[in-house]
């Protein structure tokens, strides 16, 4: 099984984050898993890594409905940071929202690879890894 360096989970649902982390570890598809409880924490974490020249995650699983800074606000903040980022980051939306508006909004961001519905199952994670390790 191919692996990536780092997968990042941005979600305010602590149980979900915990369970997803367990699943990723079990599948052994990455070296490290990081998580943030909302968009603001994630943004600050990214910013800090850039400043310290630490690597950023290869894959991001981003929730939309979060307090303080939601998924969309994070996307806008991330785009502001992007000129400073050298490596490729694949962002996947993982939300329990099934509204068509959110899907359409996700499609308008070129940096968002795909819109995923919760729960994210093992098959989905395996497919993502395959896509992101092709080259």
């Amino acid at each position: 099984m191919k692996k990536v360096n780092c997968i990042c989970i941005i979600d305010d649902d602590a149980i979900y984050t915990l369970l997803l982390k367990k699943m990723i570890v079990k599948l052994d598809i990455c070296d490290t898993v990081v998580s943030y409880a909302n968009g603001e924490e994630a943004y600050l974490g990214f910013e800090k890594n850039i400043q310290q020249n630490n690597p950023l995650p290869n894959i991001v699983l981003l929730d939309i409905n979060m307090p303080i800074m939601d998924g969309w606000e994070f996307m806008d903040a991330f785009l502001a940071l992007k000129p400073q980022i050298q490596q490729k980051i694949a962002i996947y939306i993982a939300s329990s929202s099934i509204t068509i508006e959110d899907r359409e909004k996700a499609a308008s961001y070129t940096d968002i690879v795909e819109y995923l519905n919760k729960p994210v199952v093992t098959a989905t994670l395996q497919k993502i890894i395959q896509e992101q390790t092709l080259d």
Binding site: I15, I68, S96, S97, P119
Partner: protein, 797 residues
């Protein structure tokens, strides 16, 4: 001049004179010779043998003058015959009898007179033999003697004349003086009358004719007509026919009287009408010797006759061809009896009664007038008569066929000296016109009824917005808002404040150009009531498309407007409800699904669990998820119950009481965080609310204010209450963290929205609170600034 004295024996003297029959006779040489001798003997320029008639002095013989006679007053001889001896006047100029004699004061300016009276055998003086000179030198005695001898010679001549006259009288048939005079008069008369008069002999040749006849013939010289027949004078057909007439009269003796003849002039350019009479003349033996004719030019009469007859015909045509009308002349006797002197035949067309029947019985015609209209008719007639002005009356009258029709009669009364009144008038059938008029009036009345009874107020104004007319509804509406009553001549500008005049002028201009202006206007009545009116201004054009004015329609739409506002409100409510439903769907899709997906994940992980320890850990997670799911279900229950309980128990509650209660519940938190609470809500404020909701709402806002207080300053909370548009507003302000409403405004009252990252933020409070307030018919507003504070305004119904 003195009047000449008349001799005492005048009648005998005149008789004597007439015996000689000398007056107006032709000159005779022996008398002439005698006066010539007298002049020569006496060396006088004038010598005369004069006879004194009843009126004049006539010279039988004269020398030195052409005058044949003078009037008696101007005669010298008159004085001579008064005496038996000669009369000598030496200085005529100084003699009172002759000083003013025409011959003395004028030509030949005689100065001396010597006359010897001439008498008949009986001694009656008939005249004088006299001489006159201009030198005034008297005759010598010898001359006087010689003149006396000549006078004796004259006596002899007269004696001879008398004898001769007596002998010749029966044979000569000499016309006497009066006959001559008569002839001369006749002659003058004949030549001066305009009628052509002529006498023809028995061969129809013209022998005598007057100037008019010549002029009629177009001939200048008498000789050209004398002895000619009409055949020769006229020639052609006219000549032949006229000649035949002449010969008919002459041969048969049948006269032609007053025959009208049309005669063309010889060149044919003119045409005359002649009235001709030809009567035969009989001689003493009873045989026709010719005819006398008279012709009168009646062309002018004829023309006038023609004009008159044409006119009469035109008048007749006119009288009988007045459309729907007839003319009449009515005679009203002082006793009230009526008689039609004339009625056009056309009366039959409009009344069905023949003109002749009306003329026969005027009272019958009058009896046809519709009785209710008779008093007006009579009073108008009397008024016209009394004031001598035109009678004009519209009335109904029965047609011969029984139909009731409308007529108009107009007439001028003329009262004559007998007290009779002559009415010259015209009688017209106005039924059609009247029916149209009545129909119009009816429709106008109908319109007026509609206009007056409509609930829409109408004001008709001039282009300058001066009121022309309006209906009752308009008066009523105006009185609601204005103390200035609606009246004709008042101007719309006076009902608007000055600052609106410019707008009004602009609108007026647009309306006059054909636009329709419509608006809904809210007014506050004088009683302070709020009312809504729909105002519509449109222009009104007359038949020639000119703008006659502006029509303002006002409709009370208060009920409609209120319904509309109510509808808008309920639409907003539905909209809100819709949003809540949408939120609900989020809850279902997001919150419930996130729990179920977690349960799925746990189940999946259980399969992969390597140890009991791991499995126990997962089960403990499952419990957490299960609790969270239960809490979410509980919240949903709460939301659904608010949504469902539309008719929930509502009471009048003291706002202050509930605030006190809440502050008591939260007193531990307030003490812990050292919060300053300023409660400025007055005591008397009562709101209609569900008790449980009110407690929940106040707790929610106050606990939020405490929870999200700023860490770097002492928390302050202020509660105030005020009225806005009859609604109580509770305002809760804090100096806490505040929120970025640009970012979160829309989501603020959404379910499960949290903004501060606190672990115990559930994102449920504001959602529930909002639902509760709205369920009670109120609303909620928020003002907030990050790091400054937040103010919530709760509007109670």
């Amino acid at each position: 001049m003195l009047a000449v004295p008349i001799p005492s024996n005048e009648s005998e003297r005149l008789n004597a004179l007439s015996n000689y029959a000398l007056i107006d006779t032709a000159a005779e040489s022996h008398f002439d010779t005698l006066v010539t001798l007298a002049a020569q003997i006496c060396n006088a320029p004038i010598a005369l043998f004069s006879l004194i008639d009843e009126q004049k002095q006539w010279f039988k013989a004269k020398y030195g003058t052409n005058v044949t006679e003078t009037d008696r007053n101007s005669s010298f001889g008159e004085y001579t015959i008064l005496q038996q001896t000669p009369l000598e006047v030496v200085n005529l100029e100084t003699d009172v009898r002759f000083a003013f004699n025409p011959w003395v004061i004028g030509s030949p300016f005689v100065r001396y007179y010597y006359g010897i009276p001439v008498t008949d055998k009986q001694g009656f003086a008939i005249g004088s033999l006299c001489v006159l000179n201009t030198t005034g030198i008297p005759l010598t005695p010898l001359q006087k003697q010689q003149l006396q001898y000549l006078k004796q010679q004259l006596d002899a001549l007269l004696e001879l004349h008398l004898t001769k006259t007596a002998a010749q009288l029966p044979i000569l048939e000499q016309p006497n003086a009066s006959l001559i005079e008569e002839r001369q008069l006749l002659h003058t008369l004949i030549n001066n009358i305009p009628d052509a008069i002529y006498i023809k002999d028995k061969e129809a040749r013209k022998t005598i004719f007057n100037h008019a006849d010549l002029a009629f013939l177009g001939i200048d010289n008498v000789e050209d007509a004398l002895g000619k027949t009409d055949l020769e004078l006229f020639g052609g057909e006219k000549g032949a026919s006229s000649y035949a007439d002449d010969m008919h009269v002459i041969t048969t003796g049948n006269a032609i009287y007053n025959r009208e003849e049309k005669i063309f002039s010889n060149d044919g350019s003119n045409c005359y009408w002649m009235l001709t009479s030809k009567v035969p003349i009989y001689n003493t033996k009873g045989i026709i010797s010719g005819l006398v004719g008279i012709g009168r030019n009646i062309t002018e009469h004829k023309n006038i006759d023609k004009i008159l007859s044409d006119r009469e015909e035109q008048l007749h045509l006119l009288a009988n061809n007045i459309p729907n009308g007839a003319i009449y002349r009515l005679l009203e006797y002082p006793n009230g009896h009526l008689e039609y002197l004339f009625v056009s035949n056309s009366i039959e067309d409009i009344t069905g009664i023949a003109a002749s029947d009306i003329i026969k019985d005027a009272m019958m015609f009058k009896s046809k007038i519709y009785p209710p209209d008779l008093p007006l008719f009579v009073s108008k007639a009397n008024e016209a008569k009394a004031n001598n002005h035109i009678f004009d009356c519209e009335f109904r009258q029965y047609h011969q066929n029984g139909e009731l029709r409308w007529y108009q009669s107009r007439a001028i009364p003329k009262t004559n000296t007998n007290g009779e009144v002559v009415w010259d008038g015209i009688f017209i059938d106005i039924t059609q016109h009247k029916l149209v008029e009545l129909a119009l009036q009816q429709s106008e009345n109908n319109l007026n009824t509609v206009f007056e009874n409509t609930e829409v107020g109408y004001i008709f104004m001039s282009p300058q917005l001066a009121f022309i007319s309006f209906n009752t509804a308009a008066i009523h509406f105006t009185a609601l808002e204005h103390t200035l009553p609606l009246q004709v001549g008042e101007n719309l500008y006076h009902y608007y404040p000055k600052e609106h005049h410019e707008k009004l002028t602009l609108v007026t201009k647009q309306v006059l150009q054909g636009q329709v202006f419509e608006t809904d206007k809210k007014i506050i009545t004088l009683q302070g009531e709020e009312k809504w009116f729909h105002i519509k201004l449109s222009h009104v054009a007359n038949r020639t498309q000119e703008v006659a004015g502006i029509l303002m329609a006002m409709e009370d739409i208060t009920t409609r407007k209120k319904d509309e506002l109510e509808l808008k409100k309920s639409f907003n409510l539905v909209n809100e409800q819709n949003k809540r439903l949408l939120n609900f769907s989020y809850i279902v899709s997001h919150n419930l699904r996130s729990h179920t997906s977690n349960i799925q994940s746990i189940a999946k992980l259980m399969d992969f669990a390597d140890s009991d320890e791991e499995r126990n850990e997962l089960i403990s997670h499952l419990k957490t998820v299960s609790n969270a799911l239960d809490e979410t279900m509980h919240h949903l229950n709460e939301v659904v119950s608010i949504q469902n309980h539309v008719n929930i128990n509502v009471q009048s509650l003291s706002l202050l009481e509930y605030i006190h209660k809440t502050l008591d519940i939260l007193k531990d938190d307030i003490q812990t965080k050292n919060v300053i609470v300023r409660n400025l809500v007055p005591q008397n404020v009562a709101v209609l609310f569900n008790p449980a909701y009110l407690e929940s709402v106040i707790i929610n806002f106050l606990s939020n204010a405490i929870k999200y207080s700023h860490p770097q300053r002492q928390p302050e909370i202020e509660l105030t209450c005020y009225q806005s548009l009859e609604q109580w507003v509770l305002q809760i302000s804090d100096n806490g963290l505040g929120m970025d409403l640009k970012k979160h405004g829309e989501k603020l009252f959404g379910l499960y929205k949290t903004f501060h990252g606190f672990s115990n933020s559930r994102g449920i409070g504001l959602f529930i609170t909002k639902n509760q307030i709205e369920a009670m018919g109120g609303k909620i507003e928020v003002l907030s600034q990050v790091n400054v504070g937040t103010t919530f305004k709760i509007y109670f119904k």
